[in-house]
Each structure stands twice: as C-alpha cells, then as structure tokens.
C-alpha cells in the first residue's frame, strides 16, 4: 500500500536557457510522426522518440507543440514566457505544420493520439528525474519554471525529483481539444483515468497540478469532480497533515499546496456536492460525502448520505465503508449501541477487517465491556488481515486508484494501432 508517497509540490524557479533552433523544427516533425505511429500502451519506436528527449529537450520543445495547436499565451504568463523563445522563423515553420495538420481532416484524433503518446511516455518512460534538493532561487519571470517534488515513504523523505513534463504536454494538448458545444468526452475520461493513477501511487504533487488544470477544461465532469474530492479528502487526513507538520526540508524548501484539514474537507464537500449534482447516481460520491461530513461534524446529514450508499450500492466494499463510517458518525453522536451495530455489520461483510474490528473493540470498551472489546479484536490480532481483500480500508485513500487499470485500458482502446 502506498498511502503517502510524494506528498507535495514545491515550486521553484531555476535558471534554464531555452533557445530555438532549426533542429527544434525538425524534432517537431519527428514528434508528429511519433504521434501518428504510436500504438497506445506499447513501448514502440514512436514512444522511444519522446522518451529519449532530455528534460531540457522537453522544455525546449514545449512552446513548439503549444504553438502548433495555437494554444493562447496571452493570459498564461508561463506560456507567454515560453512563447517568446520562438523566433519568427520558428513561428512561420510551425504555422506550415499546423496548416498541414488541419488539412488532414483528423486533427482532433491527432490531438488525442498526442495525449496518449505523452501519457504512455509518462507511465513507462525515463522521467521523472531524481535531483539533489535545490536551493530556493529568487523568482525571475525570464527564467523557466521547474517544479521539484518531494517523495516520501512511510512518512519519511525519500528523494526529490523534477515534475514529469510529459503530463504537462498531455494537458497542453487537451486544452486544444474542442470545448464547444460541449467539451470532448475524452478530456474528462483522461483526467479521471490519470487522476486515478496519481491516487493509486500517492502522487499528490502531480495530482494537485492535474486537478488544477482539469478545472479549466473538465470542471463539470462528475468523475473528475469526484477524483479531486478524493484528493482533497486525502490531503486533509492525518497521514498527510502530520507529514507536513513535522517534515523539515533542506535548503529552505517549503511544502506547498497543503492547508488545514478543515479547508481540505470543506473543499471536498463542495466538490462532492457538485459531483452529485452532475450525476446523482454516483454512489461513491454519496459515500465520500458522508465521510467528509462526519469529519466536518455534520453527523446527521452524513448519516443520510451513508444510508444512500448502503442501500444504493451492490458493491461489497462500498457497503462495508458505509457501515464503517456510519459507526463513526454514531460514535461521535454518543449513540454507542448503534455504532456497535454498524461496526458489526461491517464485520459481517469483511470478517477479517482490521478497521472494523478495532472500531468495534473501541466502542465496546467505551461501553465498559472490556472482555467483549478484547474478543472483538482478538481474531484480527491472531489472524491479521493481509491486504485489501481482507480489509478495503487500506485502499480507501487511493480513491479511484483501484480502477486505474480499467480506466487506462478504456482510454487507450481507440488508439491501439498506428494511424
């Protein structure tokens, strides 16, 4: 289980020179060929073209790709800085390539293929790069921005690494997909699948950037709203909060993007309400809303949503969670007998569940029945649960992460062969 891995994003500004040259235009042509010939999910030669790019190559080529799709730079300061690195010859050469793409008649499919190429590069390629913890440099708008993420394992700093720019490429191209009359469904599908991937790996830094950009292009997609709500709930939870509280990073680096638990829970609440408004049948959102409202001490409303999850889902884990969290809400309300009943129902679904057995032991002890408390936890201590098959709790903070394989397969399915 990887609950807490990369926890945060630290935005630094480092010195980097980006100069355009003729080789970049040639490389852009090679990139177009790679997009056309890559088979989704395969480590083919086309994928090798972009995974061979260095970090500097990726920085250098980004304005070329942005310009190829005519992404607006006026209101995006970082993009405007990148765009200024292009000379007039570059701009003219890119315009020729753009006209050529438009003339093919399948530019939307091409863009989706480009997204898939960089998604696969991010998933299987050589990025990201491990770096020594940099020193904080003063911000200079002329300098290229680089994001440095800190990764951790078991609550301790593991290493620092540069943000994987292939994700930025994919999101750049998604911005170029048609937004009217309605956003292309591929956009929401991609954001949900990759959000699940980040949740699965505890990549909170990537996930924060991911959902920040998702708001611009898929802000009404129930699945994307749900994915961000899961992230916000996780950021408010003790593992992340404790980590941020005690972790001291070297060289004056600061952890960014993590606020108080209440702030994250309130944001999660808002996102879940929006998700349910967009898709009232999204039972997982009802479940999570019940949990988040419990954390916000709105117990009665929490129980209402949890009941919806209990009765509206035939998914074993969802119903288990609903009973588990209903136990918590009742416990907080002082309704210990009802809390006990809910925990017992959760155990009925997952008999070896550590979470439900400990919660039951806790409530029995609070009732004053010490032998019963010991009996409640004894089976789990003697035959401990070994994984999510015994207790789904260990996957709870992964949100959609358990579905990542299916979501990625669905995303790639239309692009399994070269153009």
């Amino acid at each position: 289980m990887r609950l807490v891995a990369g926890a945060t994003v630290i935005v630094l500004t480092l010195s980097s020179v980006t100069t355009a040259d003729d080789r970049a235009v040639l490389r852009l042509r090679g990139w177009i060929d790679a997009v056309d010939t890559h088979a989704a999910g395969q480590t083919d030669a086309a994928l090798g073209v972009v995974t061979a790019w260095t970090y500097e190559d990726l920085e250098l080529m980004r304005p070329y790709v942005e310009a190829l799709f005519g992404l607006p730079a006026a209101q995006r300061s970082a993009r405007a800085v990148r765009r200024r690195s292009l000379g007039s010859n570059d701009t003219a050469a890119i315009a020729v390539l753009t006209r050529s793409l438009l003339g093919r008649g399948d530019v939307v499919v091409f863009m989706k293929r480009a997204v898939i190429l960089h998604t696969d590069a991010a998933l299987v390629g050589g990025m990201p790069l491990v770096v020594t913890p940099p020193s904080v440099l003063k911000s200079d708008p002329r300098q290229q921005q680089r994001n440095v993420d800190v990764r951790s394992h078991d609550g301790q700093v593991s290493h620092f690494e540069l943000q994987n720019l292939h994700w930025e490429y994919a999101m750049d191209v998604l911005e170029a997909l048609p937004a009217k009359p309605a956003p292309d469904p591929f956009i929401g599908q991609w954001y949900r699948a990759i959000g699940a991937h980040f949740a699965h790996g505890g990549q909170f830094a990537d996930a924060l950037r991911h959902f920040q950009r998702a708001r611009r292009v898929a802000g009404q997609d129930a699945g994307v709203l749900y994915g961000e709500a899961c992230l916000q709930e996780t950021l408010g939870a003790p593992p992340v909060q404790d980590y941020v509280r005690v972790t001291v990073l070297p060289n004056g680096l600061l952890i960014r993007g993590i606020e108080s638990p209440q702030s994250h829970f309130r944001r999660a609440e808002s996102l879940l309400r929006q998700a349910l408004a967009a898709d009232p049948a999204l039972i997982e959102a009802s479940l999570r809303l019940g949990r988040v409202l419990t954390r916000l001490e709105k117990y009665d409303e929490a129980l209402s949503h949890l009941r919806t999850a209990m009765t509206g889902s035939d998914d074993r884990a969802t119903v288990y969670y609903a009973h588990l969290f209903a136990g918590d809400a009742n416990h907080a309300l002082g309704r210990l007998d009802e809390a006990r009943r809910q925990y017992e129902q959760a155990i009925g679904i997952y008999p070896d569940s550590q979470a439900a057995r400990l919660a039951l032991g806790s409530v029995l002890r609070a009732i004053g029945d010490r032998p019963a408390a010991l009996s409640a936890i004894d089976p789990m201590l003697r035959t401990p649960a070994r994984g999510p098959d015994d207790d789904p709790w260990w996957e709870y903070y992964a949100g959609d992460g358990a579905k990542v394989g299916r979501l990625l397969a669905e995303l790639r399915a239309p692009f399994m062969s070269a153009r």
């Binding site: 289980m1 609950l3 078991d154 609550g155 005690v246 979470a355 806790s362 201590l381």
Partner: protein, 276 residues
C-alpha cells in the same frame, strides 16, 4: 481509568480486605523526591486525593509489590528496518531480563497490519523470538496499534504498563487519535511512548499525559536499552492508590488531583478518569 468491579487477585493476596470491596478507583502514582528518585515508604495518610474537587479517603497504597503487565506495542514498518530494529531487539531483551517472577509481558506489532505475536503471559522468550523473526516493511498504523496494545494489556491482575515504540508518523490507521485518547481516559494502562525526536504525532504525548505516563524522545544515538530499563524501573516503583469515591457522581469525567503531604515530593498521576 476504570471502576474496579472485581477483586484484584494478585493484590488480594497481599491485601485480603480489598477483595471484599467493589466500585473502587485505583490510581497509579509516581512520587519522586527533588532528585527525581522514587520516594519510598508512603502510607495512605500521606496521600491527598480530590475527585472532582471532593477529598477522598485513601484506603490502600501499595508500592513495588504488585506484579506488572508490561505491554509492548512496536512499530515494525519500513522505517524501522536496519540499525533501529537491532536496537529494538537489544532493548527488549534488556527489558525482559529485568522482569520479575509474576510479571507478564505482551507484544503487539504493527506496520499497516496490527498483530499479536505474544499475548500477555509469563513467557520470557516470546518477545525475543518474535523480534528475531520480524521483517520491518510497509506503512505505519500507530493509532490502531496503540489501541490494540491498550486493550490487550488491560488486566484485573497487576499493574499495566504499555511501552509504545514508533520512529515515525502514522500513515495508515483507520481509527482517529481521539479514539485512543478516549480509551486512555477510561483505562488503567499507563502509556510510555518512545518516539523519534521531532517526528511524532501530537496525540502520543497527550496519551502519555492522560494515562500518567511520560513521553521519551530518542534519536539514532540514544541508548534504547537504557531508556527501556529506566521506564520499567520508574513504573515498578510507583504507588497504586485506591479509594471508594464518595460525594461524586459515578458517571462522566472525573478530574483527579493527587498530592503527597511530604516536602519536596513531586507527583505524577493521570489527570482524571472517565467513570461509567
């Protein structure tokens, strides 16, 4: 803190009159002199206990006579691998060597999974064998592990100590810290956490305070064996003070004020208990 319903078998052997009493409250009290050495030889008349502000008549005081239930709750997550595990093995061996006949020990281990390799018993080798077989890995369910350790360690016989070792943060528990603090208000178990300097959850110090224990912060250079022995020594030479609460409601939170009528005496006891 719990209300005593049944007799304490071991104590009864020493204090036969106690076995006939019900609904008593017992408080584990550390009394030291100005040099932090245990102050010995105190009698019931030396103690002044106020339960919710009402002075109580102290009936029984014992010192160093009652057998101990030494519970261990050890973090065996990934962060403990290597030198830290070796220190933990050595410290546990040093600790069990100090146990006396009649003392019992238990071991709860946790990464994200909580397990009980050694139930409470007088088997001295179980802890050593379990730690020798341990392979630290995974995340840390500290709150879950502590709660399990407290429930396992409670006993009507003897005095219960829980030593919690963790060198990092909680990354995987289901239960909230509030749950284990609530148990701390109800339980007789005295909790002594041993945690890494700086990298510990807030609740662990509060739990120590609530139960009358004390937090020990260690680093890689600390002598863990000496820390373990010192905790056992301190715990063994505490007083167990009992009284029948009078003039106060049985239920609800009871604030305790424990004083010793000796000049320079320093007193450490739980700040209260949850009655029920």
């Amino acid at each position: 803190m719990k209300i005593i319903i049944a007799a304490l078998a071991a104590l009864a052997a020493l204090q036969p009159t106690f076995s006939t009493r019900v609904d008593g409250v017992r408080v584990d009290v550390l009394v030291t002199d100005s040099s932090r050495r245990p102050l010995r030889g105190l009698a019931p008349a030396d103690f002044l206990i106020r339960d919710n502000g009402i002075a109580q008549e102290v009936e029984v005081v014992s010192f160093g006579e009652i057998s101990l239930n030494v519970g261990l709750a050890f973090d065996l997550s990934d962060s403990v691998a290597g030198a830290r595990l070796e220190q933990l093995k050595a410290a546990s061996q040093a600790l069990t060597a100090e146990l006396q006949p009649g003392d019992q020990s238990s071991l709860v281990t946790f990464n994200e999974v909580v397990s009980l390799p050694c139930p409470l018993s007088s088997n001295r080798s179980c802890v050593r064998e379990a730690l020798n077989a341990a392979r630290p890995e995974g995340e840390t369910s500290l709150v879950d592990g502590v709660l399990a350790g407290m429930i396992v360690g409670e006993s009507d016989v003897g005095r219960s100590l829980l030593m919690v070792f963790s060198d990092g943060l909680d990354t995987a528990s289901f239960l909230s810290a509030g749950r284990v603090l609530d148990l701390g208000r109800r339980s007789d178990v005295v909790v002594y956490p041993i945690a890494s300097k700086g990298a510990r959850p807030d609740f662990i110090e509060e739990l120590a305070s609530l139960t009358g224990g004390r937090l020990h912060e260690v680093d890689q250079r600390s002598d863990l064996s000496a820390t373990f022995r010192a905790i056992l020594e301190e715990f063994r030479y505490r007083y167990l003070v009992t009284y029948q609460p009078t003039g106060v409601a049985r239920d609800g939170w009871h604030t305790l004020d424990v004083q010793v009528k000796r000049p320079g005496a320093r007193v450490k006891a739980r700040p209260g208990y949850q009655g029920r």
